[in-house]
């Protein structure tokens, strides 16, 4: 079928963004929003990496006086908070924003303006934390600030409030993003993409979104309770007044444990997509993979107490949480089996994305296994709060989430930019990052076993910890250098990479059916799907349906289980309201660090912004008591 230039002209006029700064601010194009999320997150990853190098340098020799304890404590707090709240979860949301409509053959997300709002609010959280750092009121109590240390008696000033409000920003942004992603996946699938024909990547994003919806309220609640204790003298966490400091830990980890799976599950989506394409064979065990993701998502809510094994809780509970924490290894292990089985039954190609998957398996499994060790409530009494646990969580987060993310970046880079990244420099970067990471973090298992606790700005001479700390520093530096090569590759390939075409890797799923880079509206027509791998099906040309309007923005809404076309939904155009609403929310959140009156007053502002946002653009009534009577 030859492309119709009049169609292209009309659809382009409807979907393209206004030019210049206005277009930048008002865009609701999910790809542009995702791109700015990813760029922001990568920049923050770099800053967090610099903090890490600073800390590693400090720990290279015992009793080092290069960093003051205050500066070191701020550094580990800022590093952890940035990576967990401002990088890991947002970047996974961003990958969902970017890829979900493309993989669904859809023209945009379910709620385009909500997507823009999520980014601006996320940016508000980023600025809250980092401007505070520039103003020297950096939070300094770690990435989970336990009371009473975080309470009004032991942490006067506003550092802890900055931390708590930064979280509020990012959690509201994440909740909005999750509702958006979940609604898109449930209601905007192409005709024929029943739930049984939905790729594993989309299952992963759907489950991660639902998990976010059910876990983030816990941290919003608990940080609000902390702010209330600090600001208006509530006593949720004051033992002397009937409160309980352990209540904080329960509520925090009820969120905190699912959080790490919210980070990991999208990575399993990336791995599934990459393994399928680069093994040149359909994924083995699709149902097993999907059921594993669902069971990991469910189980994740029943494990939180394993972060509290040293608190002194009743033994029976500890036994239960040990068994549950070990049990989650079963679905995770079966996923690994399915991916390896896919490679076994296919013809693997060793392009960079596949190499990242291999690095993921090699590294993440170590993290998973050290997790099995810490899952034992008994053994955890030796391992928790030491460098062993620092090693464990870096192995699962870096190996389990960042390596698949880097692979996904290389895999989908051509779709986003129309260019290929350099394979050679990609491999060099990989060796640096992966080799450096393992050299840097493996020794930390041993340091923990040798008695080195975590969150210490220095350690005594004569403990036998010196050499391993030096190796850890060397590895970390190598890893960061590898990261710089990766970023340089990404930047240079943008202008000088080989043109990729629509489908450089012969991918199996629908995003490869759009042009590279995809136009604002993604697809001229709506694809019809008959299998899990629509791009590999025998039927060429690709079956599509027309009929979506091209003179105004419209998306297709289908039914939840069978993806039967239901109706055509108007889709939002570029709008100023997301940034206006985000500004109103920002004003309320920041002001409420300083006075509780900000809440009612800020709410009025937010109400005004939301009214403008949701005000339907319809003609004035002619009839009725307030009609114009014309």
């Amino acid at each position: 079928m030859t492309p119709d230039p009049r169609l292209e002209e009309e659809i382009s006029r409807t979907w393209r963004d206004p030019p210049g700064l206005w277009g930048f601010i008002a865009t609701v194009d999910h790809k542009r929003i995702a791109a700015r999320y990813i760029v922001t997150a990568l920049l923050l990853m770099f800053l967090a990496g610099m903090l890490a190098i600073d800390m590693r340098w400090q720990l290279t020799v015992p009793e080092n006086t290069r960093m003051t304890p205050q500066l070191y404590n701020e550094s580990f707090s800022l590093h952890g908070s940035t990576m967990l709240y401002l990088v890991s979860v947002p970047v996974m949301e961003a990958m969902a924003f970017w890829l979900v409509p493309l993989m669904l053959g859809a023209r945009n997300m379910a709620f385009p303006r909500l997507g823009a709002f999520s980014y601006w609010l996320y940016l508000g959280g980023v600025l809250t934390l980092w401007i505070a750092h520039a103003m020297d009121i950096t939070p300094d109590l770690g990435w989970f600030e336990y009371p009473p240390l975080a309470g009004p008696a032991y942490s006067p000033g506003h550092r802890a409030d900055i931390w708590a409000q930064m979280i509020t920003f990012t959690e509201v942004a994440a909740l909005c993003a999750s509702v958006n992603v979940a609604a898109t996946i449930l209601k905007m699938r192409p005709p024929g993409m029943t739930l049984a024909r939905m790729p594993v990547f989309l299952w992963a994003m759907l489950i991660a979104s639902i998990m976010t919806i059910l876990s983030m309220p816990a941290i919003m609640l608990v940080t609000s309770m902390l702010i209330a204790d600090r600001m208006v003298s509530t006593h949720f966490f004051s033992p002397g007044a009937g409160g309980d400091v352990i209540l904080f830990q329960h509520l925090f980890w009820f969120f905190g444990h699912p959080e790490v799976y919210i980070i990991f599950i999208p990575a399993t989506g990336f791995v599934s997509s990459i393994v399928e394409t680069f093994s040149r064979r359909r994924l083995f065990g699709h149902s097993v993979l999907v059921l594993s993701i669902i069971s990991i998502g469910a189980l994740a809510f029943g494990l939180w107490v394993h972060h509290m094994f040293a608190v002194g809780l009743p033994r029976l509970g500890n036994d239960f949480y040990t068994a549950a924490s070990m049990a989650i290894a079963l679905p995770a292990g079966l996923q690994i089996f399915c991916w390896i089985a896919t490679m076994w039954s296919g013809r693997p190609r060793f392009d960079t994305p596949m190499l990242w998957v291999i690095a993921f398996v090699l590294t993440f499994v170590i993290g998973g296994l050290s997790g099995i060790m810490t899952a034992s409530a008994a053994l955890d009494l030796q391992l928790t709060d030491t460098y062993f646990i620092v090693a464990h969580f870096h192995y699962v987060l870096v190996g389990g989430a960042l390596f698949p993310l880097f692979g996904a970046f290389c895999y989908w880079y051509p779709k986003a930019t129309g260019r290929m990244m350099s394979e050679r420099w990609g491999k060099i970067a990989l060796v640096g990052i992966v080799g450096g990471f393992n050299l840097g973090f493996f020794p930390m298992h041993l340091l923990g076993l040798m008695g080195m606790p975590r969150r210490v700005y220095t350690y005594p001479t004569g403990m036998g910890w010196d050499t391993l700390n030096q190796i850890a520093t060397a590895g970390s530096v190598i890893s960061v250098l590898g990261g710089l090569v990766f970023v340089a590759n990404a930047l240079l390939s943008y202008w000088r990479g080989a043109p990729s075409g629509a489908d450089p890797w012969q991918g199996s799923t629908l995003e490869w059916a759009s042009a590279s880079p995809a136009p604002p509206w993604n697809f001229d027509y709506t694809p019809v799907v008959h299998s899990l791998t629509p791009m590999w099906d025998e039927s060429r040309p690709l079956p599509v349906m027309d009929g979506l309007a091209n003179d105004h923005r419209e998306v297709l809404i289908t039914s939840v289980t069978d993806a039967a076309p239901l109706y055509r939904q108007k889709s939002a155009s570029p709008s100023i309201w997301p940034i206006v609403a985000a500004l109103a929310v920002t004003i309320m959140f920041i002001a409420s660090i300083f006075t509780p009156w900000a809440v009612p007053l800020g709410s009025v502002l937010i109400g005004a912004a939301l009214t403008g946002w949701f005000w339907p653009p319809r003609p004035r009534a002619k009839q009725g008591p307030l009609g114009t009577g014309a």
């Binding site: 919003m220 007044a241 027509y525 979506l548 239901l566 055509r568 009534a621």
Partner: protein
């Protein structure tokens, strides 16, 4: 390899309607998502209340007054009664009755304003300030959370009322009225366990 793959048109979507009702509608799912978020928040706040209650030697702690039943009773009764116009406006929305949704949403708004009166008195008769002890803190937390709920819903109903009376109403707006009614029902239902926890649990223990 260079451009998008060759495609052939096998059908058309142009005959599809441009709106839908109930769970067929996309925004219904967004509404449900936000209700799920808030419901989870309430459940966790209730869990915090129960946690503190089971840790305490006495509940309310010795010396703390019990919360008053009069104004909370009035509030609860009024809230339950307000469910009648909420359900009525839902039916009007589904039947696409212009007059019904206009006046029904106005009634809901008036109920919302009226509810703030007993709610204000409830705060005054909780018996313990939030800064006295953990018991005071947590009952105030629950009541503040629910009040935010009521105020948000009042705001939405009020704005909707103004808009409905001054504009021509289309399919999407009938869906909005439906979503608002569902949310009102959620506010009513969410109150019941919270009411039990604040006002009756201290009397039962």
């Amino acid at each position: 390899m260079n451009g998008p793959p060759d495609m052939k048109i096998v059908g058309t979507l142009s005959n599809l309607p441009t709106s839908a009702i109930g769970s067929r509608h996309l925004v219904w799912w967004g509404n449900v998502g936000f209700m799920l978020i808030e419901g989870t928040g309430f459940a966790l706040a209730a869990a915090a209340y129960l946690y503190l209650m089971t840790q305490a030697p006495a509940w309310p702690p010795k010396g703390d007054a019990l919360p008053g039943l009069l104004w909370s009773g009035i509030f609860t009764a009024l809230l339950l009664i307000s469910e009648i116009p909420a359900l009525w406006v839902l039916r009007c929305a589904r039947a696409e009755k212009v007059g019904g949704v206009r006046w029904g949403t106005l009634v809901l708004t008036l109920f919302g304003i009226a509810l703030l009166v007993p709610r204000g008195f409830e705060f005054a008769h909780l018996g313990v300030p939030w800064h006295q002890d953990a018991y005071g803190s947590v009952i105030w937390l629950l009541l503040v959370l629910h009040t935010t709920h009521v105020v948000t819903e009042l705001g939405e109903s009020a704005v909707q009322t103004v808009w409905l009376f001054t504009h021509q109403i289309g399919d999407d707006q009938f869906s909005d009225v439906e979503d608002n009614s569902n949310y009102w029902t959620f506010v009513v239902l969410a109150w019941l366990p919270i009411y039990a926890l604040i006002y009756w649990a201290p009397r039962a223990v």
